[in-house]
Structures are given as C-alpha cells and as structure tokens.
Amino acid sequence: MRHIIIGTGVAALAAVESIRSVERGAEVILLGDDPYGFYSRPGLAYFLSGELTDKALFPKTREDYRRLGFTYRKARVTKILRDDTSVQLEDGSLLTYDRLLLATGAFATPLAVPGSTLQGVVKLDHLNDARNILKLAKRGRTAVVVGGGITALELAEGLLARGMSVHYLLRGNRYWSNVLDEQESRIIEARLQEEGITLHFHSELQEIIGRSGRVNSVRLKNGKTLKCDLLAYAIGIQPRADLAREAGLNVERGILVDEFMQTNDPNICAAGDVAQVYDRISGRSVLDSLWNAAREQGYAAGLNMAGRGTPYVKSMPFNVTRLAGLTTTIIGAVGHGRDDDLVGIARGDSETWRELPNAIVAQSGFDVNRVRILVGEKKLIGAVVMGDQTLSVPLQTIIAKQIDILAMRDKLLAQNAKISDVIVDFWSNLNPVN
C-alpha cells in the first residue's frame, strides 16, 4: 500500500501519524515544495513580535520524523492523473499511489490595488514573509496595515513591537465585525489606540504609491494620503485547490469532502485549509481555517486512507487568540454576516461561528474581562470570553457537549445577572470537588 500526501502542514503530519498508528508497513511519501517543511504558522505572529526565535517555530526533530518512518521529497506536484492513480512532479516524473491526500493548505488573498507589487508590500503567510517584514521594519519608520480578523491585528502589533509607527485602516466602522459584537470591537480598538496604533475607520485603500520601486505612501478613497514605507495586508485566504480542480474533483471554494474526508474520487482525500468539509449538524460544507481543525481532519483522513473508516466529527470550532494583548476565546456560534475588511474566510477563523440559530445574548463584563454567551432553548450555543479565562474551559465543555442548561438558564437571562458566578456555580455542581 502506498500513500502519497501532498503538503507539509499540520494536516499532512497528522495523517502520517494516524496512518502509522494502524499500518506499520505501508509506504508513506510526503511531497511538498515549502522550503521549510513543517513549522508553526500561527507562531509567526510571535516571531514577529519578538517572543521567540524563528528556529523555535519547528516542533519536530529529525528523530521524530525518523520514528514516523516516511519518505519526504521536496518536490512540486504539477498534475494529478486520476485514471493512472499517479501524480506528476515538476521534473515530469510520475509517482503512483494507492491513496492520495491533498493537504495543500491556503494562501493569503492577494491585494488588488495599483502598486501591490512594490517593494514594502507585505503579508504574513509564511516564514519568508516574517523574515522579510523584520528586514523592512529595521529600515522603515511608518507602516500601514489593511485587513480584518486575527492576522491583520498580529501584523499591526508585531510592527509596533518592532518600533514602527502603525496606522490601521478599517473599511467598516469597527474591527472584525462578523465575529465580535460592537462592545468587543470597541474594547479591542481602545486598547490598540492605547498601545499607540492609529486607527482609521471608513478608510479604504485606493492606491499604493512608490518611489524607485519602493512603497512611499498610500492614497485612500476618501482622498487622504498617508506617508509610509511599509504596507501590510491580511484580507483573507484562498484554498490551494487548483490541482484538484484541474483533476476534475469537486471544488467549490475548497475541495469538497464528505465526513470521511473523501473527495468524489474514492482514492483521494483532502484535509486542512484546502478542504471544505461536510458538517452534519448544519448540512452544509464549510471552511475552517483553524490549526486544530486541520490536525483533526488530517488524522481522520489518514485513518480512512488506511482503511479504518472513521468519520470526522467536526468538534465545536473554537480559537484562542490574543487581540490587543487580551486573551480571547471564541467558541461555537457567535457572529454573523460579513466583514468589509475580509474577502471570505481569514486565518484562525471558522465559518461555523456565523451560523446563528435562535438564541438570546447574555453578557457581563467590566473593564477588560468580558463574557458574552448565546443562550439557546436548552443549551449554550456560543461564547466569547475576553480577558480572564477562568470561564473558557467550562464554557468550551458546556457548549461542545451540549449540556442541558435548564438549571441555570433563567439565572443567566435575569436582569444584571452575574453571568460568571452563575456559570461557575453550575459548573461546580456538574463537577463536584470532594
């Protein structure tokens, strides 16, 4: 049995692990053209802010890889030949497979304004991007950031940490409007301003103006001009689905897969950022661009490739991130609609967050500790926990396990309820400590 995996991200690696857990003898070949192989992409933000070195981003040692026992070939796949169950590499050679996994990930949606190709226009999608930003930040003084979601904020804060003065442009009237509610956006915005980042609302990039090939200033649609030597953007991501599309696999925005991570070809699976996964609960196929979701999908795909039909049960999507220095956990369904600053989905985001069934919002908070929960008829549907994270683990469990909350529902919805206390009491009754 020969398994070929295209990609070197966390979904690919998880698939190798799961194949190995059930098939000691099968041949596993990993193909990828990333010069660095497997490293922590979410960690790039912390490399940018100076919290760790780039060397520290690599989780696995040579010994770890040796133990897993797979062949790694640094090669770009140019074609999938389904009729011959083989893939073609850049040099024209063919490799046959019994089972194939597409774990090719996603790339940053490019900026489509004049001047996007100037030196000094950067994104944060890859280790090379981060290294390039650090080089430019040493020379430059002023940066402009455009985009929404987590990555844009990581860019703004990273550039600030590197001593640049930062202008953050928002097309809409608040930050990350499709996930956060107004109060949450305002908390983040106030903190960004305190840190020294200048926010510009209702500001849309019209053109990046260069001088001798380098960014020199940006012109906005409202006629304003801002001088800068660096323009950083994070407006969303796009699954790398061309190989699949050209091979005639079903592709919508990502590669469509069923609960077994299988495409419409029984020998080919897809997982991670490139996969659009069928969600049993909503009956729709959604994109999740979350590290842990990619890991779980890759693991399930590997088991299925090894003949252990195991459905991937999409767990409650959640992400923990730092927004303006504030630890924020986003669980289940919390947001809605569109975000002017994003084209589709962003890194660290889940489409499931925006599937809102009937629910009542209950929230409490002060200063920078804030909890918002979406209360359904019998269960909690989603939550945003900002600041103090004491509640995030209980809430994660209550939401994921769909625990019946009738015992506390009225208390939660009472006027001026101390939501934190109600949840802690409920939780401690569920988990009595002797």
Partner: protein, 88 residues
C-alpha cells in the same frame, strides 16, 4: 458551597506552590513553541502538548514560565493528587 474563590489570585498561587504538574489542553495548542523556548531547563513542553500529556518530569521546577507565557491558555497547573489519580 460557593466556588467563587477560584477567581482569587491567592488560591491560584497556593495551588501553584503545592505539589503539582503542568497539564496541556492540546486542542488549544498551535505548536508555536513559546513554552519550550522559555523553559529554563529545556524541557520540550510543546511535544507534551502535541501528545496531550501532562509534563510528568521529576526535574520540572513548576516555575510557571511556560504557563504564564503561552499566548493561548494551553497550559495549566494541576495538583498531583496521588489518591484521586488512581481513581481516574
């Protein structure tokens, strides 16, 4: 009995000073490596987080450096309760 004391820092501190171990919640972990990078005795905390195992290493100082620096709340201290561990 009220459990609101868990919000109090002093309780946290007492728990830390007690005999305990660092426990990861691997579903929160993105393998960035800040924990391993900051461990004063070079324990590869991240590898434990990948496997979802507690850091049951006798040389761990439970200094809290990895717990405090993790940007995603992956790590926490748990009391090592010999009598309850057997019952789990």
């Amino acid at each position: 009995m009220s459990f609101l004391h868990i919000f109090k820092k002093s309780a946290k501190k007492r728990a830390t000073l007690a005999q305990g171990q660092v426990v990861p919640d691997s579903s929160r972990c993105v393998q960035c490596g800040i924990c391993t990078y900051n461990c004063p005795i070079e324990i590869d905390v991240r590898a434990y987080a990948w496997r979802g195992e507690a850091i049951h290493r006798s040389e761990c100082l439970t200094c809290g450096e990895c717990v405090a620096r993790c940007p995603r709340g992956v790590l926490r201290f748990e009391r090592t309760d010999l009598f309850r561990a057997a019952a789990k």
